[in-house]
Amino acid sequence: MKTVAKLIIGVILGRKEHSKEKKMKNIVSVLGKWTLVAPEGRIDGHTSPELDLALREIIDGGAKNVALDLTGVEYMSSAGLRVLLATYKTVKALEGDMALISPRDNVAEVLEISGFSGIFRIIDNSQGLD
């Protein structure tokens, strides 16, 4: 039998710097009543707490209407969905709103498959914001 190729942990650790670079970055701007947040990179189990924290800070800072520009999000898992759901609940409670702007295909598919596309407002670009 041929030996099974293994990627050992050391290899992964060696590539950690690279993965850090891919880490999510948030760019925040204000457009009308909307506070525009543009996270970048992956939103997974590891990075979602960071996004969650950032969004909470923004909302705590007085923002009610949060628009998430997902153009820079390469990937999103259910952990990201949970942050979006939590944020959505919070702004709704403040009588605000949340919008998702131009998710990539794979992210849109996740929203679609998971059924969340039914409750979130998803628009193609920031011009769609009222």
Binding site: M1, A5, S19, Y75, L81
Partner: protein
């Protein structure tokens, strides 16, 4: 050393008899000796005394004659020659024992003057001799001087009368007194020839044994009537004693001087022989009468007696020996025959018989018992022979049965040559006895699939083999109708349990395999779980639990579906492997897993053989207690795919990772690369990445406590149909069924946050399994097919 009965009897009896007779001889000899000696003593003493008395009588009468003669001369009114000589002659005439007599007068004291007339016997006449003759002159002689000087009678010593013809004589001389004045001496001469002759005759007449003799020793120590000693010419005993210093002579001399009668054992100084010496004193003359009785002659009769007794004893011993020999022969002869009989038996001649009527009753009983033993052994041998033949017959039948049984197991190898490029299938069965209760089977079933069975009938041996044959036919018959495994088992169970009076049952796994897709469907009837072996290791497949076949009639079975990826192996076995005991120790699952993991095998057959070899190393095959059966089914892909498989195997990814979210991005990258290389479309790759990410995140978040440094494994196994992704964690198992149901894809604003990840995986993957608590850990796996295969 072994001693025969005969020798023992002889050894015991002969010395006893000898000692007994020895004692008898000794005691009787001593007694007789005493008696004989006493008798001899008495006889000899009597002899001596009577002879001594004769002397005494002679001498006393002679003395009286002399006294009366003296008295005549003392009392005669007048002494004249006529009176003197008349008295002498009268004395001679009246007393024949007197040889001669005289009256000789002191010349000055009487008128008779120098006068000594002596009359003596000469033949039949009486002769005269004048002692007053000049050439004699009686006044010079001791017989005259003695009485004159002593004024009392005197016995002369012995002397040989030369005048009268060498007659041995002794003289009694007595003084003659007249008117109280010594006037002369009267004598009587006593001839001892007669007496001596008689003493000598004692010897001649053998009155004292053959060679015994008697003699007298005079007061002066002279020997009288001694066969060798001359009375006058030889020396006296005292002179002899002094001269020779012979102790025996000295002793004899001592005896003589003692006046008491004696009976002494001593050496005869004259002959040198041992003898009894009897001495008796002759009072009148102070002589000693001696009888010498040779000891050997005294004891001769005793020796004769002793010899007779010894002869008798010898005869008795001879008789006893003869009796013992006869008796022991009579006793041991049957024993010897018994020994011969036993020897015959030892050589296997059990039909030999011995006569039971010979010997004492004990021996007869023994003979009878031995004969019975022989009969019984012969009978037993016959029985054993028959039983052995019968057993051999049974064994032959069993061997034939075993042949038949082996022949109904699949014989073809490879079993399905037409799909040899995709399926590597091998089954083996080794029964503990001639025939067994295990079996395996595989066959074509409708739909291009392969049906396979492994089963283990309760119990072993012939009964279970029949049940096994029955089960095999039944399952095959049902399976060929193309039913699914659970139904096949249900029907087989129904038939087996119906009228199952023997209460036998059989554990089994029935499965079918689609060699095109690698899809396995398995149903178990109480059988031990099969194993899946792949590059990631070994895992047990937990199949739905149910009763064995034949136990209860109406029971339902469930089946499981598993994908067997290329390179994966399904291993079915019976508990004869894991429960192969060597003493107290079982072969066990751990050793089985270790043997498989060594990877010294490269085919289904070599895996089975490797395991069998290791079991035999663990415990020798002759000690195998239970049937051993294995079925190995390997998915090796198609001939073309085989190459792919090889590259797939090369590209299989096995990650061991810390259980923390930092790894998620990296694993996604690895999964992307792997899936991409396999030829998945971009969308599919995203699905695989997402499903893996969700699975992994789930394991990290829920199986381990926060901050744990535990490891988990991710295995990405590509195969020709798609990719198999497996996440193994070692933490707390979770309730998969509930978690999966928490989210159904209908999102609401009040949606709880859990369950979304699992929902995504379930939705994105083509197959999805959760196996908690396998010996490898909790396994969550999913399969994503390549779109070309959908």
């Amino acid at each position: 050393m072994r001693i025969s009965i005969r020798t023992q009897l002889l050894a015991a009896l002969i010395p006893a008899i000898i000692v007994l007779f020895g004692l008898v001889v000794f005691i009787s000899f001593k007694d007789s000796e005493k008696t004989v000696l006493e008798q001899i003593n008495r006889e000899a003493y009597e002899l001596a005394r009577s002879h001594a008395r004769e002397f005494d009588v002679l001498f006393e009468s002679s003395r009286k004659i002399a006294e009366s003669l003296t008295l005549t001369y003392s009392t005669a009114p007048a002494l004249d020659m006529g009176l003197v000589e008349r008295a002498i002659v009268e004395n001679l005439l009246n007393n024949p024992q007197i040889y001669g007599s005289t009256a000789s007068f002191i010349p000055e004291s009487t008128d008779l003057g120098f006068y000594g007339p002596y009359y003596y016997r000469s033949g039949d006449t009486i002769a005269f001799s004048d002692l007053a003759a000049r050439d004699y002159d009686y006044r010079k002689w001791d017989w005259f001087i003695g009485p004159v000087k002593k004024l009392e009678p005197v016995w002369s010593d012995l002397y040989l009368d030369e005048g009268g013809g060498d007659i041995l004589m002794v003289t009694y001389s007595t003084p003659i007194f007249r008117e109280s004045r010594l006037i002369g001496v009267a004598t009587v001469d006593i001839a001892l020839d007669n007496l001596i002759l008689r003493i000598k005759k004692l010897q001649e007449e053998k009155r004292i044994g053959e060679t015994g003799y008697a003699f007298i020793i005079s007061r002066q120590g002279r020997f009288i009537a001694h066969p060798e000693k001359e009375i006058l010419s030889d020396e006296t005993i005292f002179q002899l004693t002094e001269k020779t210093n012979d102790p025996d002579l000295k002793k004899l001399a001592g005896l003589i001087t003692s006046l008491a009668p004696n009976f002494t054992e001593m050496r005869d100084p004259f002959t040198g022989k041992q003898a009894w010496v009897i001495t008796t004193h002759i009072e009148s003359t102070d002589w000693t009468f001696v009888i010498v009785y040779p000891r050997d002659e005294i004891l001769k009769p005793l020796e004769i007696l002793r010899n007779k007794i010894m002869l008798f004893a010898g005869l008795v011993i001879l008789l006893v020996i003869t009796i013992i020999l006869g008796l022991s022969n009579r006793v041991t002869m049957p024993i010897r025959r018994l020994v011969k009989q036993a020897d015959d038996y030892a050589r296997g001649h059990f039909s030999e018989k011995i006569n039971e009527d010979i010997g004492p009753s004990e021996i007869q009983n023994l003979s009878s018992a031995l004969n019975k033993l022989g009969d019984s052994i012969t009978e037993q041998i016959e029985n054993v022979r028959q039983t052995t033949a019968q057993k051999e017959g049974y064994r032959q039948e069993l061997l034939i049965a075993a042949d038949i049984q082996q022949s109904i197991l699949p014989q073809k190898n490879p079993p399905f040559p037409e799909i040899i490029d995709r399926l590597d299938l091998f089954g083996i069965n080794r029964a503990a006895r001639e025939v067994g209760g295990d079996f395996f089977d595989y066959f074509d079933i409708p739909g291009g699939r392969i049906g396979f069975v492994i089963a283990d009938v309760s119990d072993k041996g012939a009964p279970s083999s029949i049940f096994m044959a029955m089960t095999r036919i039944l399952i095959r018959e049902i399976a060929e109708r193309g039913l699914h495994p659970a139904e096949i088992l249900r029907r087989a169970n129904y038939m087996l349990a119906k009228d199952n009076s023997s209460a036998m049952f059989v554990t089994a796994i029935y499965g079918d395999y689609d060699p095109d897709s690698g899809k396995l469907r398995l149903a178990s009837a109480g059988h031990n779980p099969p194993l899946i072996i792949n590059s990631g290791g070994i895992r047990e497949i937990k199949l739905p639990v149910s009763l064995p076949l034949g136990a209860l009639q109406n029971i339902q079975f469930e089946q499981a579906e598993i994908m067997l990826a290329i390179g994966e192996t399904l291993f079915l076995y019976t508990d004869g492997i894991t429960e192969a005991f060597c003493g107290e120790k079982a072969y066990g699952m751990d050793r089985l897993a270790a043997t498989i993991s060594k990877r010294t095998w490269d085919s289904a057959q070599s895996l089975a053989e490797t395991i069998l070899e290791d079991i035999d190393k663990f415990c020798p095959p002759e000690e195998q207690a239970d049937d051993i059966t294995m079925v190995v089914l390997r998915n090796i892909g198609s001939a073309m795919e085989h190459k792919t498989r090889t590259s797939c195997i090369d590209n299989a990814v096995h990650l061991i990772l810390p259980a923390c979210t930092e790894i998620l991005a990296t694993v996604s990258l690895v999964a992307q690369k792997t899936a991409s290389r396999m030829g998945f479309e971009e969308k599919e790759i995203q699905h695989i990445i997402l499903a893996l990410d969700e699975t992994l995140n789930n394991a990290i978040m829920h199986s381990y406590p926060p901050g744990s440094s535990n490891k988990l494994q991710v295995i990405l196994s590509p195969h020709e149909k798609g990719i198999r992704v497996c996440v193994i964690d070692y933490g707390t198992p979770f309730d998969f069924e509930t978690s999966v149901k928490r989210y159904d894809g209908n999102a609401t604003i009040d949606q709880p946050v859990g369950g979304i990840g699992l929902f995504l995986v379930k939705t994105l993957a083509d197959e999805f399994y959760y196996e908690p608590g396998t010996f490898e850990g909790n396994r969550v796996s999913f399969v994503k097919y390549l779109s070309t295969n959908k």
